[in-house]
Structure formats: structure tokens, C-alpha cells
């Protein structure tokens, strides 16, 4: 039996489960729901404790659920901005150098090509989960874990 308690009522015979700061629900002891409510409360406390441990600074790394499941639309948009940004830097840098040195079209052309290359390499990195590190090695924690376990590094993995 569940009872929604109005604030200010006497609560002496009930034990509580607090779900949200606003709603306070009481479970009357001895009724069917009482022990179940207690058990639920226990579970919630455990969950909350685990969550706090997970977010504290001293928790072991790697236990955290990864947020890699993002929508395809945001991935597509991200790829677009990566290409655009690299092209902006390449073309803009080329134009700036052109204006400074008076080599009118040439640095722009070189900058465009280099910017396009950088854009493609940015997209490659995003899609392969290489993150934003410079270079093309998968170093991110995978390599570290291998070193810890003493397993041989994969072929092509150089330091």
C-alpha cells in the first residue's frame, strides 16, 4: 500500500523512499509494499553510491560507459565541419601568405590542396576513433593496457 504524504503530516509509522526532492512517498510498515519499498531503497542507495564512486577522481579508469553511441546525423555534421575547418585554415593561410609575399595565386593553390588533405585526414581520424591526436597511431589507452598486461604490441605499433 502506498501513501503519498503531504508535508507536515505525522510520519512516525512510515519509512520513506525519496525519489525526487519534491515528492516524498511513504510506505506503511507491515503492508505488502513495505519490505519491497525497503529493498528498492537499498538498491537505489547502492546505485547512487556506485554512481558517486564512478564520478569521483580516484575511481579506477576504464569502468565508465563510453558515450560513443551518438546519432549518425551528428557524426555527419561533425565530418562536414572538420572538412570545412581544415579548408578554411588552408585557404585562409594561403591567401594571407599571398598577400604578404605578393605571390598571388600560388600559395592559395598550395593551401587549398593541403587544406583538403588535412580535411580528409581529419575525417579519417574521426571515423576511425583515433581522436584528435596528431599522427595516425591508436595509442588511446589500448596501448597502455597492452603494456600493463605484457602482451606484445601489435604490428606497426612503434614508439
Amino acid at each position: 500500500m502506498r501513501l503519498d504524504i503531504v508535508v507536515g503530516e505525522t510520519l512516525g509509522y512510515a519509512d520513506f523512499e525519496i525519489t525526487l526532492p519534491v515528492t516524498v512517498r511513504g510506505y506503511i510498515l507491515g503492508s505488502d509494499n513495505g519490505p519491497a519499498g525497503l529493498k528498492e531503497l537499498e538498491e537505489r542507495v547502492l546505485q547512487a553510491r556506485q554512481r558517486v564512486e564512478r564520478t569521483s577522481w580516484n575511481a579506477p579508469e576504464g569502468e565508465v560507459a563510453d558515450d560513443k553511441q551518438k546519432g549518425m546525423l551528428s557524426v555527419a555534421f561533425r565530418i562536414g565541419t572538420e572538412v570545412l575547418a581544415a579548408l578554411v585554415v588552408g585557404v585562409g593561410g594561403g591567401l594571407l601568405i599571398d598577400n604578404a609575399l605578393g605571390t598571388k595565386p600560388w600559395c592559395l593553390v598550395v593551401g587549398f590542396v593541403l587544406g583538403a588533405c588535412a580535411g580528409v585526414s581529419n575525417v579519417y581520424r574521426v571515423l576511425n576513433g583515433l581522436g584528435y591526436a596528431i599522427g595516425y597511431r591508436v595509442v588511446e589507452s589500448e596501448g597502455e593496457r597492452r603494456e600493463e598486461t605484457g602482451a606484445p604490441p601489435p604490428a606497426g605499433h612503434k614508439d
Binding site: E82, A86, L114, G131, Y136
Partner: protein, 247 residues
């Protein structure tokens, strides 16, 4: 009716120093409003520091835990000194986005100069951290390992451009999302008004269709407001991680 009218910067107090216009504008007003909101949320919310948090305290604690977890997972333990910076960045962007969802309030994150300034600050800070921590090794990292030295004249500029494109992609992503979303809301709202204006009684019925779409879009925009603030800060964390553990 102009859907881009909402992005106009209007000075509230005109201030001109020398030849530079440093007026207090509607953009500055919403930035100050956000700073005040975040500051009072954190201070007023944590005032009681009770075991069982109240409403505001829950919000403050959730924000703290979200960012603490994000920094720890994505930037590593060494990034702990940067937690206040990342937290400030996240709350400034998030509350700026959300405040902009109130009709009539200026959304400063829909201006590329604001997001670019934020991204450039992140970029410069991350680069300085890498240089201070690793010294000259930072510059050698632009040459990928295991590549023949003959490739260097091509690869190093590409890597350099790729590195320098970070602040641009970071700022364009936030700005474009916010601006496109707000313009789209205005366009759909405009449809309703046009239909009522031109079709009379039938227009009230037909005008309900874009209105319904707009309601869905507002929900979507609130999600985008949160998501983009999250993406901006998570990428900041990833850049920090790269700078701290230069490979």
C-alpha cells in the same frame, strides 16, 4: 518577419573608446545574465549543503558530477586542475543556449565571434599546456612516427593545418547548430503568421500545422542546446588529454 533579425546586435548603452565601439549590447546583457544565473545557482543551491539535496542543490550537484566525470574519463587524472575551467566553459555555453530558447532573449552562442573566441581560448590554452609540459617535443609531434623523412615537407603542413583547424571546427559546430536552429524556428513561426494573414479563417486551421512542427522543433532545439554544450566541452577535454599525454 526576417528570420535573421533575431541575431542583430543592438547596443543598450553606447560606449566608444577611441575608435572602438565597446557598447554594452543585448549580447553582453545575456552573457551577464547567464553568469549571474550560474553563479547564483551554484551558490544559492549549495548554501544548505544538506545530505538529501533540495531542488537547486540537485541541479548543482548533477552539473558538478557530470563535468567531473567527463573530465576524469576523457582527459585523465592529470587534468584535474583544469576542472574549474571546463566547468565554467560548459555552464556558460549550456545556460547561454538554454536562455536563448526563451523567446525574445538573445542567444550569444549563435554568433561565431563568441564561439570562436571561446574555441580560440581553449586552443591557445591547450597549446600552451602542451608546450609547457613537453617543451620542444610538442613541435616534433607534427611529424607522424614511422614516416620517411622525405614525406615531411608534405605531411608537416598537413598536420599543422589539421591542428589549427581545431578551433574553427569547434566554434563552427556550436555556432551553426544554434543559428540554424533559431532561424528554423523563426521561419516556421513565420509560416503560421503568413497563413493566417493571407487565408483568413482557413488560415487558422492551416497555420496550426507549422505551429505543431514548431513545438516539436523547440523540444529538439533544447536537446541540441544541451548536446552542443556537451560536445564542445568533451572535445575540450579530448584536446586537453592530447596536450597532457603527448604521443
Amino acid at each position: 518577419m526576417d528570420p535573421l533579425h533575431q541575431f542583430h546586435i543592438n547596443p543598450i548603452f553606447k560606449v566608444v573608446v577611441g575608435n572602438t565601439d565597446v557598447s554594452f549590447t543585448n549580447s553582453s546583457l545575456s552573457m551577464i545574465a547567464v553568469v549571474v544565473i550560474v553563479f547564483s545557482l551554484m551558490n544559492y543551491g549549495m548554501r544548505s549543503k544538506s545530505m538529501v539535496p533540495g531542488r537547486l542543490q540537485s541541479v548543482a550537484e548533477m552539473l558538478y558530477e557530470l563535468i567531473a566525470g567527463m573530465v576524469r574519463d576523457n582527459a585523465g587524472h592529470d587534468a584535474r586542475p583544469f576542472f574549474p575551467f571546463v566547468f565554467t566553459l560548459f555552464s556558460f555555453i549550456l545556460f547561454g543556449n538554454l536562455l536563448g530558447m526563451i523567446p525574445g532573449v538573445f542567444t550569444y552562442t549563435s554568433h561565431i565571434i563568441v564561439t570562436f573566441a571561446l574555441a580560440l581560448f581553449v586552443f591557445v590554452m591547450v597549446t600552451l599546456v602542451a608546450i609547457v609540459k613537453h617543451g620542444f617535443k610538442f613541435f616534433t609531434s607534427f611529424m607522424p612516427h614511422g614516416v620517411p623523412i622525405a614525406m615531411a615537407p608534405i605531411l608537416v603542413p598537413i598536420e599543422l593545418i589539421s591542428y589549427m583547424s581545431r578551433p574553427i571546427s569547434l566554434s563552427v559546430r556550436l555556432f551553426a547548430n544554434m543559428m540554424a536552429g533559431h532561424a528554423m524556428l523563426k521561419v516556421f513561426a513565420g509560416f503560421t503568421i503568413m497563413m493566417i494573414g493571407s487565408m483568413g479563417a482557413v488560415g487558422y486551421l492551416a497555420g496550426a500545422v507549422p505551429l505543431v512542427i514548431n513545438i516539436a522543433l523547440i523540444g529538439f532545439e533544447i536537446m541540441v542546446a544541451f548536446l552542443q554544450a556537451y560536445v564542445f566541452t568533451i572535445l575540450t577535454c579530448l584536446y586537453l588529454k592530447d596536450a597532457l599525454e603527448l604521443h
